[in-house]
Symmetry: C2
Subunit: 397 residues, 2 copies
């Protein structure tokens, strides 16, 4: 025991130093750098690059013509090369939000090597940063009591496999005896049981809204809606395969039919209230499609339904009883007076028209619902907003 | 509800397609590509780059002279540019292992944009891949019952804050009534409560060893050893700061003194066996240092102790009762006959000599211990091996 702490530290710094020197030619890059005025500077050391672009959701979006009309794509802008080989980009003053971005170096999309905060969305990796204030404060970790987040496995008899599910339990759950209401929160196409906890910031939104008394303490269950998969990419025995956006049987009725198993798993394994009044279901895009059909298929199960940029589409070439007699089932669902039927969509969403059409049908039928129209399109920014908006409305006595 | 599924899919593919075309000029790159013979091909589309290097732990290490003698650094090799602008690297046949790597493009260290499997270690992001077979099969997700992994928060009276802890509960814990033994598994310098579950593959190693009957079902607690921090980078109200390697008070006795709080939290919140015979503590590097001192400070607490590449050093300029009278405390600890005192170190580790010296002291004092000497240095490969080696030895009746 002769070696002393300072030499241990020296060695460790040395290792770290070498790793970073290889990168940065000895200079330490800070990126992103959030200025006091809430503008942001990005930097990338790339002396040999010909062109460095930045793409992110804080840039003006590009409109694009598609078979479904105009859609919005993330904007792109040029970074500027300084004489020291560092490329730089300065934004205008940004409004509070959680933003994502990447660099494109001579055509290669890369993560910012100075920013370890990276999140996966389907097959893409994004860097993130937060401009605080307003609603973005809901997306931050604040000094409030924190809920627990567990990755668990349940046995699906219907699908013949063990499947992974993310469960948020609110602060106080483990040490208390109270029973809690449950929100089932579903991901979109290509997503998985990690999506809402990643770019969705569900854990932070829940912690913050519950701590401020704006949302009721609740359990939130984030299952995997891809019935051919046991779990998120990399979490199954298939190994470290590239994540696929196109998975089989995601919108053919299988998930909807097997969904009560998940409810049953939660209700036999957690201290929860087990009535319609204490169950909610919400989802984004494909998860909104699932939420619409599951809540309609089991009209006594959920008193609160949230369709966030829902894929309100008619499955094509699919024969499932789940998608038959939709109108009659909807009548049954609404005869039972769900407490909240929430629909939110952005004006630039490619699903805007189909959502408007659905809302028109609900109006004609005199079905009580809440329709929220926002800016922007089919993006995480909106799903965080919709979740933050939806949570305070559910499970209120 | 007029839109049909195929158009929805088309749109989503379109979005995805655009995102990837920006990268790859329309061509899809597969990297890493693991061949049948267990050699690996890496590819990166970078037509304008002058030099592309690959660095990874499968390459021959570079030896370096440091104040502590020769140490090993990750190897680096050149990638070869093909006429289509794709840089390529082919390895020799690799032995089974979980490997990590990065590309260095004109001096910038980047992640492989074709591989979403990236893990953070302190302030670095690494891509990973697995060559299966032998012990690497322990690092894979296999079709076995899976334990749950929870991120929870406990109140530290001693440190005056809520702190995050990762808890692995074995398959069957939640649905059963059995009481389990507990291993406390500690990270190294700059690490946090996520480290062992990341490059350490602790979840997979535990699932696999327990499923095969080689390890006893146990709860594994991975706390945060940085007493100035509540949680891992990004998981506290400090926001998304760059992770720091050098944190205050990590080796000044504070953690050791506050450790019983963590044991108490687990023993009041989980169904566990609460005696020395059913408690183990192990850690890597700084976590080995902590395990050595905690087990010595509380000689009635742990019957199993694992020092993995432990930082067996004398803290310098630190005054804490924890590091005083070490020899006498060690005598007391060994008088109480711990069932296993396990020390493992690699021959190339900069801590090799101090570990050897410690083992010599233990031998002289006739203290029963198990000393394992392996190849390589202060790297995750060794810590996965030591954990896989240690787990089957603990909690056996």
């Amino acid at each position: 025991m002769r070696k002393i702490l300072s030499i241990f530290l020296l060695f460790q710094i040395c290792i770290l130093g070498i790793a970073q020197q290889a990168l940065w030619n000895g200079s330490q890059i800070i990126s992103p750098e959030i200025n006091k005025d809430k503008s942001v500077r990005f930097q990338l050391f790339a002396p040999n690059a010909d062109t460095v672009l930045i793409t992110g959701d804080f840039l003006p979006q590009n409109k694009m013509e598609t078979p479904m009309g105009m859609v919005s794509m993330p904007g792109v802008d040029k970074m500027i090369k300084r004489s020291n080989g560092i490329w730089e980009y300065r934004t205008k003053v940004l409004s509070p939000e959680l933003y994502n971005y990447n660099f494109i170096v001579d055509g290669i999309k890369i993560s910012d090597p100075s920013n370890v905060y990276q999140l996966r969305d389907v097959a893409s990796i994004f860097n993130i940063f937060i401009i605080d204030g307003d609603r973005a404060d809901l997306y931050k970790v604040n000094d409030v009591p924190h809920g627990s987040v567990s990755k668990r496995w349940y046995e699906s008899q219907a699908l013949g496999m063990n499947r992974r599910v993310t469960v948020y339990t609110p602060a106080g759950y483990e040490s208390g005896e109270k029973e809690y209401p449950v929100l089932y929160l579903l991901h979109g196409m290509g997503g998985d049981e990690e999506a809402w906890g990643s770019l969705g910031r569900a854990t932070q939104i829940l912690d913050n809204l519950i701590a401020s008394g704006k949302a009721e303490p609740m359990i939130v269950v984030m299952p995997n809606g891809n019935v051919s998969k046991q779990a998120a990419p990399g979490e199954t025995s298939e190994g470290l395969l590239p994540p696929s956006f196109l998975l089989p049987n995601t919108m053919d009725g299988t998930y909807e039919n097997s969904f009560p198993e998940i409810v049953n798993f939660i209700e036999t394994n957690y201290r929860v209230k087990k009535d319609k009044n204490n169950r909610a279901i919400a989802g984004l895009s494909m998860g909104g499609f699932h939420s619409m059909h599951i809540s309609k298929e089991y009209p006594d199960m959920f008193d609160y339904v949230g369709l966030f940029s829902a894929a309100i589409i008619e499955p094509d070439g699919v024969s499932s009883s789940v998608y038959e007699n939709s109108k009659q089932k909807l009548v049954t669902q609404f005869e039972k007076n769900p407490k909240l039927y929430y629909i939110a969509i952005g004006k630039d969403d490619f699903l805007y028209n189909s959502n408007k059409e659905y809302v028109r049908d609900l109006k004609e039928l005199n079905f009580k619902h809440l329709f929220i129209e926002t800016e922007d399109g089919h993006i995480w920014k909106n799903w965080r907003i919709y979740l933050s908006d939806f949570l305070p409305m559910i499970f209120k006595e």
